[in-house]
Amino acid sequence: MSKPVLQGELWAALVKWLPAAPVTPQSAPTPVVLKPVDPEAISILINEILPMLARGKADAIDRFQALQELVAGSELAPEMADAGLPLKEFRFDLTRQRLLQMAAKYEWRIAQ
């Protein structure tokens, strides 16, 4: 993992690499409070990032990080972290594809 460690990335990594904890019915699970997301803010940022990704702009990496920070602590954080993984290999096209899928799934407004 690259530093500084983001919460969403850490969560995604832990889920991926750690074995699932055995269910212990004796104790009730601690409820996790998830941060609500702001679809409008996400739409604005995604509309900024998508053209950059399409043209392989390095600035897209910083902007994607800002997007991850925006969704950190929300239910979207793991999925967003997953979408950002191809950027490590500079596969802007794959990240773009994942973002478009998410936009469709969560009905974020994408400029044509």
């Binding site: 043209r55 392989g56 702009k57 390095a58 600035d59 500079f90």
Partner: protein, 680 residues
């Protein structure tokens, strides 16, 4: 507003390299990244980067191929490319540089070095672009200047050839006038004018303004216009008489009017005014520093140079211009010309000169050429001398010939003309009488007397008007006659000198050209060559397909022959299926001349041997294309002035041609004896 960051496109399939580049460059540059050459080409087309970083080793399309494609595309050709090579890979560096890369960076990338190299290259590229922009601006300015200069030249040429060169007026009787003007590539101030005064009298004015350019042309137009005004003014002054202003009076008045303006403009004008009076049999001339006129006297058989010792107009304010008068008679010809002819140079820088011009003039007159043909002949001789080089100065010439036989219609207008003169004199006498009496005092100028004079003047006026109408009618008839005569002259000339089928010069014109070429050879010592050719088996075509097929073939042969020779050479139809090609000014050395003639003859032989497609029209049916093959046997002989006469040269080429036939046709054969003499 912040300055936009330079755009860099990095193409590398190794993420670690890209990570390093990203860290090193992302702050200062607008970085675009891709992992394949194909995508790199796509990205570049979209964003046009300022610099490209390119890895050598990549799957699918390696860095060298990517570089080749960038350099092959005009949009990217100038974008500097830096190769990312493995440390110590000298071969890769060398290959990259040979493909047009600007530099290379060894991996692992040293951040500082990479940044410095990139900055250096970008700075260099910025300078190159600035120079290119300045160069483009300079070129644009130069093009504009050139276009402006071209417009000025075209304007000047338009002035020169519409305002400066006179046209031959209709209604000049008893004389034949012809002129030509070969414009140079520059504008200058040559001008001319031919003005009919009476049916048997006319003026020829030629002039040249100092210097070149539109300024000279405008001054020339101004002087020519002033000449018209002066002539009109002086005629008005003498309106009650029929005496025209003399050439000296005209030139002196012109001098009075234009010299102050020419002095202001620091310019001067040479001119010569010739007046032909065919009734009196005189040629009167005022020459103000212009080229002399050449008068070829039929009686004396020699050329008289008509010069003047006056200065050009615009030099000395007190100059008095005097005229010279020489008798002329039927058969005499005058040649006036611009110095662009005598000062035309050959490749060696030698001027054509007056002596050659006189020789060409005499030769043409000896051949009894009409003025039009004579000027054509002089032009050909001049072209032969200069090798057809473009004229550096305007070349213009006018020939006036008084034919030996005056056409009967000259007399047709004598009576009306004489009667008009008489009426003029009577009107003048009445007016003078009236004025004389008026000046004596009132006692003689009674109202009755005044009325009587006015009545007489009115009667004369009516008579004059009637006469004017009659003259106008006669003049129109004459003009129609002259147009018809000119048309017939042209027709006669065409028939006399050209073959009606192929429009090539005929035997007569060939003889003339050959004698001119011999004269030129005498002066230049250059060899010429004559080719005599006969089409092989021509008769069979006529027999099989008729004479129209033969005619089509002859026309096509003529066309091909003309394509094989220079403009100064002559292609003539000698008769039937025989053609002659005359080559002049080959070389000083006979061996070299023979080689040159041989090359041209072979070129002709091959051209004539190409297949022919003869499109034959058929009555009531579609035209049919007849395929035909035909060859020629070509006899060649060299000549130089003095080694034979015209017939001898033709005979040698003819003999050589028969030798070619005897040796199996479709071949080039030099005249054996002549060739032996040449080859020693």
């Amino acid at each position: 507003m912040t300055k936009p960051r330079p755009k860099i496109l990095a193409i590398d399939d190794t993420p670690i390299n890209l990570q390093l580049l990203l860290a090193a460059l992302k702050l200062d540059f607008d970085l675009q990244i891709t992992t394949s050459g194909v995508l790199g080409l796509e990205f570049a087309a979209e964003t046009l980067p300022d610099l490209i970083l390119l890895d050598v080793m990549m799957p699918e399309m390696d860095g060298f191929e990517t570089c080749r494609r960038f350099k092959a595309d005009a949009r990217f050709r100038d974008i500097p490319i830096i190769f990312l090579t493995a440390l110590g890979d000298v071969q890769a560096e060398s290959t990259g540089l040979s493909l047009g890369a600007a530099d290379y960076i060894a991996k692992p990338v040293n951040v500082d070095t990479a940044q410095q190299r990139i900055r250096n290259l970008l700075e260099r590229e910025a300078l190159r672009k600035e120079i290119q922009t300045q160069f483009n601006e300079l070129k644009q300015a130069t093009d504009l200047l050139q276009a402006s200069r071209q417009r000025e030249l075209e304007f000047g040429n338009a002035i020169q050839h519409t305002l400066l060169q006179g046209v031959i007026p209709k209604g000049i009787e008893g004389a034949s006038v012809s002129s030509f003007s070969e414009p140079s590539q520059v504008v200058d101030g040559d001008f001319s004018d031919i003005r009919r005064l009476h049916t048997n009298s006319f003026d020829v004015l030629v002039g040249d303004v100092m210097g070149k350019g539109v300024g000279a042309a405008l001054i020339g137009a101004g002087v020519r216009s002033a000449y018209h005004q002066v002539l009109a003014d002086l005629q008005v002054v003498k309106a009650f008489g029929t005496v025209l202003p003399t050439p000296a009076e005209i030139v002196n008045e012109l001098h009075r009017v234009v010299t102050p303006r020419l002095v202001e403009l620091s310019s001067f004008v040479t001119l010569a005014l010739y007046r032909f009076d065919l009734e009196a049999g005189t040629l009167t001339c005022v020459n103000a520093g212009h080229t002399p006129g050449l008068l070829l006297s039929a009686r004396q058989g020699e050329v008289l140079t008509i010069m003047g010792d006056n200065m050009p107009i615009g030099v000395l304010p007190d100059e008095v211009y005097v005229e010279v008068c020489v008798p002329i008679g039927p058969g005499d010809s005058l040649l006036v010309y611009s110095d662009g002819i005598t000062e035309a140079c050959n490749a060696g820088g030698e001027q054509y000169g007056q002596e050659r011009l006189i020789a060409a003039f005499e030769a043409g007159r000896k051949a009894a050429l009409v003025p039009f043909a004579l000027l054509d002949s002089i032009q050909q001789t001049l072209k032969g001398f200069t090798g057809g080089a473009p004229a550096q100065d305007d070349q213009s010439a006018i020939i006036v010939e008084w034919p030996s036989q005056v056409l009967p219609m000259t007399r047709a207008v004598d009576k009306p003309e004489t009667r008009t003169q008489l009426l003029h004199r009577r009107a003048e006498a009445v007016a003078r009488n009236f004025l004389t009496e008026a000046s004596r005092g009132d006692k003689f100028l009674t109202p009755d007397k005044a009325l009587q004079v006015l009545y007489e003047l009115r009667v004369h006026q009516v008579e004059l008007e009637l006469q004017a109408e009659e003259l106008l009618r006669t003049q129109r008839e004459l003009e129609a006659d002259i147009v018809e005569r000119k048309r017939m002259e042209d027709q006669v000339r065409q028939l006399a000198f050209y073959d009606p089928l192929t429009h090539l010069p005929n035997r007569r014109l060939l003889n003339d050209r050959l004698s001119q070429t011999l004269l030129a050879s005498k002066r230049s010592a250059f060899h010429g060559a004559l080719m005599f050719m006969d089409l092989d088996n021509f008769k069979s075509l006529n027999d099989q397909h008729g004479h129209s097929a033969g005619d089509l073939l002859l026309v096509e042969v003529a066309r091909r022959l003309k394509c094989c020779v220079r403009e100064i050479d002559t292609v003539a139809r000698f008769g039937g299926d025989e053609f002659v090609v005359l080559l002049g000014e080959l070389a000083l050395s006979p061996q070299e001349s023979m080689a040159q003639a041989g090359v041209i003859a072979e070129k002709i032989r091959l051209a004539l041997a190409e297949p022919y497609a003869l499109n034959m029209a058929r009555e009531g049916a579609d035209a049919v294309s007849l395929k035909h093959r035909c060859t020629a046997s070509i006899g060649v002989t060299l000549f130089i002035d003095g080694d034979a006469n015209l017939d001898g040269i033709l005979m040698r080429a003819d003999v050589a041609m028969y030798e070619a036939k005897a040796q199996g046709r479709n071949r080039v054969q030099f005249h054996a004896a002549r060739a032996e003499a040449v080859l020693g």
